[in-house]
Structures are given as structure tokens and as C-alpha cells.
Amino acid sequence: MNRIITIEEEVPNVHKMVIDAPDVAKKCKPGHFAIVIPDEQSERIPLSIADWDEDAGTVTIYFLEVGVSTMKLARKVAGDEIDMMAPLGRESEIDNYGTVVVCGGCYGVGAIYPIVKALKEAGNTVVTIIEARAKYLLYNEEVLARDSDEIYTATSDGSHGTKGKAQTVMKDLVDGGRHFDRAYIMGCTFMMMRNARMAKELGIPSKVYLNPLMVDATGMCGVCRCDVGGETKFACVDGPEFDGADVDWEQLFKRSAQYVPHQTLAYQHKKCDIDHCGGV
């Protein structure tokens, strides 16, 4: 069991959790993820590792409350213990490519940080773009700015930065004469698909971090199988990092939707219980 050191809601529905895990902190690399299990009844939740501190022996994750298990995780307080299995997945491919563009959305705004940092350390010029629906949903801008050469923001309603999405900024920059050697994109599946398609259109090779359904996350169950470049890959052990241009996004969406009716049912079933709202 691992103890929760801090938990806070960064912006509405995006939670940041720092967990005591000294052995894990020693082994984390950009691109790794963790399985987190809030309690006996919970699902095994795969979450990107967003930061780690070897000296303090801690690991940081960001997550959204989207189902019963993440709801329970969000209700935890500092000092509570949870099960965590990490680090998992293949390490991100990082090298000095020249100028790279990094896009983050949703939980990815928080979780893309190790990639930004590693790209910078490898000697790249790092241009970071983060997106959200509105200004009040953007976070981590200062943290990412520290390790980026330039940082841009995009909001759907135009309340902060460019009106639009990360790919709007990416396109504007390229149209303005900028050249990018690589793109790194992390966020919800839809966000990654949009940005990867734009990168492809602009001729930029991209890396994405797939987030399909998982159970064991060690290659044992195969629920995370994705079609990448015409081959079946297991995101948990062959990924989660893949070339964005090769991913069969349609299939990923369909496979990810397998248990949506179950999730909705469970959420309704448990919500009142967990939040003590009295019931009927």
C-alpha cells in the first residue's frame, strides 16, 4: 500500500495527487504510467506518471473523475493508503531533434511535464501548447513555462490565449514560418486524435500516449489492443507511446466505448452512497 501525501483539485474535476512510493520514484522515466486502486471494490485505473522526486520518494499523478473508481480516488484525503503498481509501459523516445512542439490537454496538461523536461534536457528547443475549454480550466502553465522555450495557450471560448485548440496554435506557428521536427501529444483520446491529424497534415512526425481500457496492464489480458500501423499492439507493454500518424483512432474510440453503459449505471448506483447525499 502507498500513502497519499497530498491531494488537491487543481481546476474543476482535475485532481493532483502526490503519493509516497520511494522504490517507484527511483525508476520512473518519461512515458511511464501507473495502475492505481483506491479500494477493494475498485477498478485498476491506469494513470500517466506526471512527476517524481527521487529524494522525497514521491510520485505525482493527475486524474479526472469520470467513473466510480476515480470518484473514490478523488474523495481520498492525505494520509489515506491506496494500491499502486508502477512504473509501467515503455519509456518515451527522447532525443535531440531540434525544435519540438508539445501539446497537452485535459489530464495531459499535467502529465506531459516529464516529456517537456526530458526534451529540454536533451537539448531541444521546446515549444509547449496547452489547451482547455476556458481559462478557468487551464493549469500548470507556470510549471511548464519553466522548462519550455515558448509556451502558448488555447481555449475554446477564447478566454485565454488563442481561441481554438492546440492544433490551431500549431498550425498558426507553422503558417508563420516555424518548423517543428517532432510533436508530442498527450490528453484525452479525442484531443490526441485532433492534434495528431493536424501534425500529420503539417508534415510533423508525432508521438501520442494511448489510453485504452486496461485491466492488469502487464500484457496479460489484451483488452488494450490497438491497431497501430496495421499491427495489433498492446498499449500497456508495447506503448503507451506510439506514432500518432499510425494509430487507428476509429477503432480506439469504439473499443474504449465498450463499457460506457456499465460505467453510467455504476456511477448512478454509487454516487449518492459515496457523497453521503442522503439517498431517497
Binding site: I35, E43, T218, G219, V223, A257, H262
Partner: protein, 489 residues
């Protein structure tokens, strides 16, 4: 001190022998097939004390017992049966536990008909064997439900430290043997609960999970320390265990964890699961109790399970219990070639599973949302024997037909998971990525032992436990002598 050979070398009187020969095997009470095909409670209900003693009396106490030879861990079967006859049940359990750390488990899941019971003298005389498996289960269950417990016995601490990777049947066996000898034993398990395949693979109706936890608690009382959520190779490597973490030896019992698919059209459609996924959702994550438990499992109406092994039987019987109106077992050979235990096939038939033998899927058809709706199959006939000695199934041209399904479980075997072996330099593997060991469980890497499915490919619980016993003895010897062979074959 108690005479540990109290029940050794006993013989039957002529009258007892006559009665034993004339007796017939006592069946174990079972849940009714219709009732049990809709619940997850255990199918077999166990022997009463009286039935157990009557059954034990059937043992002929052969001077050269074939049953012991047939047992991969060499349980002293006539001795423990004699103890049951005398009503000395704890002693019976003690005798079993000398050779087998998990009697409640093996009593339920061992293929006794081809092991101990297959070698029973009764069988040679065309009579029914003694219910050895049932009696093994009986002594373990009786202690579990009783307030009188078998005392925990361990030797003085030796100061030696051994790490075991994987809390499955082989790892738990090694842990028991080494803890008994006084070594400090640490078990590292990737999942959040102990048991390996006993927890994620074998369903509750065949092996109640509480008894796996009971056996693990026994090991804890013997001083074994369990570390869950530890994926060795990721959180730390085997080399780090040997060099930095102070372990004198490491045992790798990580199982065969990569599901095989058939690579046919449509296999990534929704509703098509590997048996590993289907069973893990159901057993480890308790999907059958969704939404009390959070992990859902898809409850198909027409479910086809592809394969003919025990895992396929577990999957198809699970599908039935999850409410399937039609649960099909689709197997490319005929019933006699099925690798599953007879008892499992028989139970599946009783529960209303529909068998499509000599049938193979060739592609899956989906709807616009990506869900499987039907599978196209082809009929097979048996040709010449193949490498496995079984007759090779050959498709019959023009025999294609379509089966309507909304869920499919692919249970055509597993291969070795490279997660650990890739991170362990110096470990020799064969061409299937299984670890190569010698007759003492030693790998090509000094101080590293292995056994179970990662060595054998997918096999049985008891063979994995047998490997565990061998490796435990090998580890004892290595801790004593420090010797390691130059080459392992």
C-alpha cells in the same frame, strides 16, 4: 515427540481387504446443475466426516503405492488415508502438508484421474479409484472450519534471504518449503492480491478464493512476507535483488501471461475477449458482483468460447453463470482430444453448454458500432497426427456456417510474458521465450531458479507446485554449497 511414522507401513486385515475390494467410490455431493449454472458458489460440496472415513477405508494400503508415484509432489497418500480412517484428521493434514503447501487447492483442481487416482490399484482391477483428491480436500477444509488448527512449525532463522517472484502456485510452494527451513522469504506479486492463476484464472465455483487467502495467511504466520503491486523487472530488477537488496537466491514463478489470439478478421471487435481478460474481470476484479464491485464484465446473450482446455471450460461455465442463454464451446478437434479435465467437460455439459466440436472460427462479423454480431465457422475433420501426437484438424471445404454471437472468449492458449525475462540479462530462454532450467530448477544465471508455466508453457497448478518443490530443494542445496553448473540444459 509424536511418532511421525505412526501411519507408515500399515496393512489391511483380510476382512478389511475384502470390504475394500467390494466397496464402491463415494460420490461428492454437488449443487444441482440447473441451480449452479446461475450462481458462482462452489459446485462440489465436500464429504461428511463419515463419508470421508468410509472412502479412506477403501484404500488397499499397497506396499508399493502407485498413487504416490503418480503424484507430482509425492504426497504420502496411504499414510494420510490411514490417519483419516483413525479419525486423526489433523495428523492427516500434517502428512499432506509435508509435501504439499496447498491441499485445499490441489484437492479441487488437480487432474487426479491422470495422476494419483489414475495409478490406484483399484483402477488396475477395473474398479473405481479411491477418492484421493476429495479426501485431500476434506482434511484441508475440516481444519479450516475447525477451531483446532495445525500448529505452525518453522526451523530456527538461518539468516539467509530468498526472493520469490510471483505469488502463484509454484511461488507459494517454494515459499512454504523455504520458510519451514527458517529462511527469510519475500514474495513479490504484480497484482494486488496473492494466488496468481488461483485468483485471476480459476473461478470461484471451482476454487473459492477465501481458501487461497487462508493458505496465504498460513504462510504469513510462518513468516513469509508478501509484497503486492510489485512488477519485478520494472520496480526493481532481478540483478538488483541479488546485488543490492541482499537476496541470496531468487525464484522466478511468473507464469505464462501473454494471451494468444488467432489473428483472424474482426478479432478486435468489441465483445471479443481473451480468456485472461474475461476471467480476470470476473475472478480477480469480481465483475460478477458489478456494480457492487466497480469493474464491469460484459454479459453476453450468445457467448462462444474458442478452445478445449480447462480455461475454456472455466470461461464457458462463467458465461452461463453470467446469464448467457446460449453458451457455446467451439473446439477444432473432437471431444476425446480435449485437454480439459473430464470432470470439467462433464460439468459443463450438465450445465447446458452447447458443444461445437470439430469447428473453427474463420472470421468475425460486426455491426456499425464495432460490436461482434456473428462468427463464421468452418467444420473440421481429423487428419494425420501432428507434433502433439493428436490428429491434426483439417478444414472441410464448403462447410462454412454462421453462428450468431454477441460475445466471444478466445481461449487458445498463452505464451511467455517477456516483461521479466527481458529485464534479466544472462537468463537463457528457449525459442518460445520460456526460461531454461535444469533438474534442480537452476537457470543459466547464478542464484536464479525458476519453475511453473514460465518454464513449461501453460500447464497445471500441480505441475507448477512440483517444480516449486524441486526448486526449493535446489535452493537449499545452493544456499549450503554455493555451487552452480557452468551450463544448464
Amino acid at each position: 515427540m509424536e511418532d511421525i511414522y505412526k501411519y507408515a507401513g500399515k496393512r489391511l486385515t483380510p476382512d478389511e481387504m475384502k470390504a475394500a475390494i467390494a466397496s464402491s467410490r463415494h460420490a461428492m455431493t454437488e449443487q444441482d446443475a440447473i441451480v449452479r449454472s446461475r450462481n458462482f458458489e462452489e459446485v462440489n460440496l465436500g464429504y461428511s466426516i463419515e463419508t470421508a472415513q468410509e472412502e479412506a477405508k477403501r484404500c488397499l494400503l499397497c506396499p508399493v503405492p502407485g498413487c504416490v508415484q503418480g503424484c507430482p509432489v509425492r504426497i504420502k497418500i496411504p499414510e494420510f488415508l490411514s490417519a483419516i480412517v483413525e479419525g486423526d484428521f489433523l495428523e492427516a493434514l500434517r502428512i499432506v502438508k509435508e509435501d504439499n503447501a496447498l491441499p485445499a487447492v490441489t484437492g479441487r483442481v488437480c487432474p487426479q484421474e491422470i495422476q494419483c487416482e489414475g495409478k490406484c490399484t483399484h483402477v488396475k482391477a477395473k474398479r473405481e479409484s479411491v477418492g484421493i483428491g476429495h479426501l485431500e480436500r476434506f482434511v484441508a477444509d475440516l481444519e479450516r472450519y475447525s477451531s483446532e488448527k495445525l500448529p505452525v512449525e518453522t526451523a530456527e532463522p538461518t539468516g539467509r534471504k530468498v526472493a520469490i517472484v510471483g505469488a502463484g502456485p509454484s511461488g507459494l510452494t517454494v515459499a512454504a518449503d523455504l520458510a519451514r527451513s527458517g529462511h527469510e522469504v519475500h514474495v513479490y506479486e504484480a497484482l494486488q492480491k496473492p494466488g496468481g492463476v488461483l485468483i485471476y484464472g480459476i473461478p470461484e465455483f471451482r476454487l473459492p478464493k477465501e481458501l487461497v487467502f487462508y493458505e496465504v495467511d498460513n504462510l504469513k504466520q510462518m513468516g513469509v512476507q508478501f509484497h503486492y503491486n510489485h512488477v519485478i523487472g520494472r520496480i526493481f530488477t532481478v540483478d538488483e535483488m541479488l546485488d543490492e537488496r541482499g537476496f541470496d537466491a531468487v525464484y522466478l514463478g511468473v507464469g505464462a501471461g501473454l494471451p494468444r489470439f488467432m489473428n483472424i478478421e474482426g478479432e478486435s471487435l468489441n465483445g471479443i475477449f481473451s480468456a485472461n481478460e474475461y476471467l480476470t474481470r470476473n475472478n480477480l476484479m469480481k465483475g460478477y458482483e458489478f456494480p457492487t464491485y466497480d469493474t464491469p464484465i460484459y454479459r453476453g446473450r450468445n457467448v462462444a468460447v474458442i478452445g478445449g482446455g480447462n480455461v475454456a471450460m472455466d470461461s464457458v461455465r462463467t458465461a452461463k453463470r453470467l446469464g448467457a442463454e446460449n453458451a457455446y464451446l467451439v473446439y477444432r478437434r473432437s471431444r476425446v482430444e480435449m485437454p480439459a479435465r473430464d470432470e470439467e467437460i462433464h460439468h459443463a455439459e450438465e450445465e447446458g453448454v452447447e458443444f461445437h466440436n470439430l469447428t473453427n472460427p474463420i472470421r468475425y462479423l460486426g455491426d456499425e458500432n464495432g460490436w461482434v454480431r456473428a462468427m463464421e465457422c468452418i467444420q473440421m475433420e481429423l487428419g494425420e497426427p501432428d507434433d502433439s501426437g493428436r490428429r491434426r484438424p483439417v478444414p472441410i471445404e464448403g462447410s462454412e456456417f454462421t453462428l450468431d454471437v454477441d460475445a466471444v472468449v478466445v481461449s487458445v492458449g498463452t505464451s511467455a510474458n517477456p516483461l521479466l525475462t527481458k529485464s534479466t540479462p544472462g537468463l537463457e530462454l528457449n525459442r518460445w521465450n520460456n526460461i531454461i532450467v535444469d533438474d534442480k530448477g537452476r537457470t543459466s544465471k547464478k542464484g536464479v531458479f525458476s519453475g511453473g508455466d514460465i518454464v513449461r508453457g501453460a500447464a497445471t497448478v500441480i505441475l507448477a507446485m512440483g517444480d516449486g518443490r524441486v526448486a526449493a530443494a535446489g535452493i537449499e542445496e545452493y544456499l549450503e554449497t554455493g555451487e552452480w553448473p557452468d551450463k544448464v540444459e
